[in-house]
Subunit: 325 residues, 2 copies
């Protein structure tokens, strides 16, 4: 086997239990990779060969767009088709906005009785670790656990979210009428990633306007894969439109297969993820290197602030320094 690794017996049994569908083993494995606990890297290496089977759906939308409710509805829909579901809810939470987490907790209890649905919340981590990386690793674990379908939901407001949905095979952008923001003002980078648009709370006034605006934008640019993202109207709180959305998801998956785009998309995603992983790993090494050399980021930063050093030369020196070791 390509992937045979020396794993201690604890990790081996964790993997065995996780692969058999044990939710507690699953939660523990995710915590291990999320917290970079001992053995996290070997665990991911051992799980990787078991990945690539789950369908991965990314959902993003502004706060208040009804994302979580929509994800719940989809989860119920897929459970009726006997598919097992994993949900990763990414919460860029802060001391000021603790609300998002609370909502999730409530949702988690709601599904508690169905072992076919596994929900995990990921909160914002330090800017070094990176939420995108943590989410990707959690998705790897869930995929390896044999879940048929993963849903990753994020608040759609920034580059982080773009990075996160890049994990997904199918990306859904959720808009809501009458939120005061024209589609025009939605963060650049978010509209482009939509494989499917959802207008949720579509019983509200202004749904047609949002639809027109999406169509107008679509007329400005053609996607590389020549897919025109459909617009699905939902009222998630009442379950309206869920089946249509599931159909749209299946349509896009079929399109990707028909056009032989699955592999291409996969390669592109991995390219981006590799870059991220490399950056993190190299930075960690440089930090260690600095400590060895008796320097530290803080000391260097102080010297720069005092104008005793210029940062541009320093970075060149450190990069060269790492070469010498």
């Amino acid at each position: 086997m390509l992937y045979t690794r020396s794993l201690d017996s604890g990790s081996q049994s964790l993997i065995a239990r996780l692969r058999s569908g044990d939710a507690r083993a699953l939660a523990r494995a995710i915590s291990t990779v999320e917290n970079r606990a001992t053995g996290w890297s070997e665990l991911l290496k051992a799980l990787f060969p078991h990945t690539g089977k789950a369908r991965v759906i990314g959902l993003t939308g502004a706060p208040g767009s009804g994302k979580s409710t929509l994800v719940d509805q989809l989860a119920k829909h897929y459970r009726k088709e006997n598919q097992t579901v994993g949900i990763i809810a990414v919460d860029p939470t802060s001391p000021y906005t603790g609300g998002a987490i609370l909502g999730d907790r409530i949702r988690m209890q709601d599904h508690y009785s169905d072992p076919g649905i596994f929900i995990r919340s990921m909160a914002t981590r330090g800017s070094l670790g990176g939420l995108a990386r943590a989410t990707a690793d959690a998705a790897t674990v869930l995929d390896a656990s044999g879940r048929d379908l993963l849903m990753i939901e994020t608040v759609g407001v920034g580059q982080d979210e773009v990075d996160i949905v890049r994990l997904a095979d199918v990306t859904i952008v959720i808009l809501v009428p009458g939120m005061g923001d024209d589609v025009q003002t939605i963060k650049a980078g978010i509209m482009e990633i939509a494989d499917i648009f959802v207008i949720n709370k579509s019983d509200r006034e202004g749904a047609e306007r949002v639809e027109r605006e999406i169509r107008a934008m679509q007329s400005l640019a053609t996607r590389n894969d020549r897919w025109t993202p459909p617009i699905v109207k939902t009222v998630a709180s009442e379950g309206v439109g869920t089946a249509e959305l599931a159909e749209a998801i299946a349509d896009y998956e079929a399109y990707l297969k028909k056009e032989n785009l699955v592999f291409k998309k996969n390669v592109e995603n991995w390219q981006e993820r590799l870059v991220e992983m490399l950056r993190d790993a190299l930075l960690e090494k440089a930090r260690a290197q600095m400590e060895t050399d008796g320097g530290s980021l803080q000391r260097y930063a102080a010297e720069i602030a005092e104008h005793k050093r210029d940062p541009y030369s320093l970075v060149e020196e450190i990069v060269r320094g790492a070469e010498r070791t």
Copy 2:
């Protein structure tokens, strides 16, 4: 001199003209560092000793919050005090949302006749280069050119923006009443960075509500520096509140000085920036290393997508490989 570097005569004359206030030299120098054109790194090294004098103000707010108008008003205000002003307008533009750039062009013409105001737009760059880095470098050039005051304005929606305003000594977060988004739903990470809150378009209904919400949030957390961000109400389109905002800015600057926080803040900013710079430099090196080894990101990504390789081991190998050279 610590910073003596071998610069060709062209660069030396560029620096001399830039330091004498020549706007065309300034524009060219910014383009050089933005596009990573030949000599960009030596240019920054040569300019660095001349930096650290400008006051740097960061302004961030949602699209439609009147950011640009407010920046214009502040610029006029400072010009009356005979201060020279540099403005960097960061536009996370996309094929879909070309509007922001257009607005800036119009603004730029408006100020064309006053050489005391220099405006530069920065559009979204590839995810590798990084908008935050490009903005930081442009700010270094403007600072070295002798501008008294820099304003950096960004759309306040994500981590990019948080990184960008980190450059600033004073950060202003602009809110608007009745945009449908409660303060509660504003992206985490944005509210925390405000040294001053502005409620723009404060003649609209709901201004008091926004103010109450900010106050309620402030009661939940104390800042490390014990500063309570004031709330300034403006109607930027009519120039209302501009003087009060300038006063609030001066107050915070005075507070930082009184509490000896200027240097501390500077060191913290440089720590973050060094990390970013190191990541970029190391990644570039790793890419070059891969090419030398006959590999490439694309090939590796394909092998991972085919499950012939696991990414976690690969990254470890590449990081080790870079060591050997």
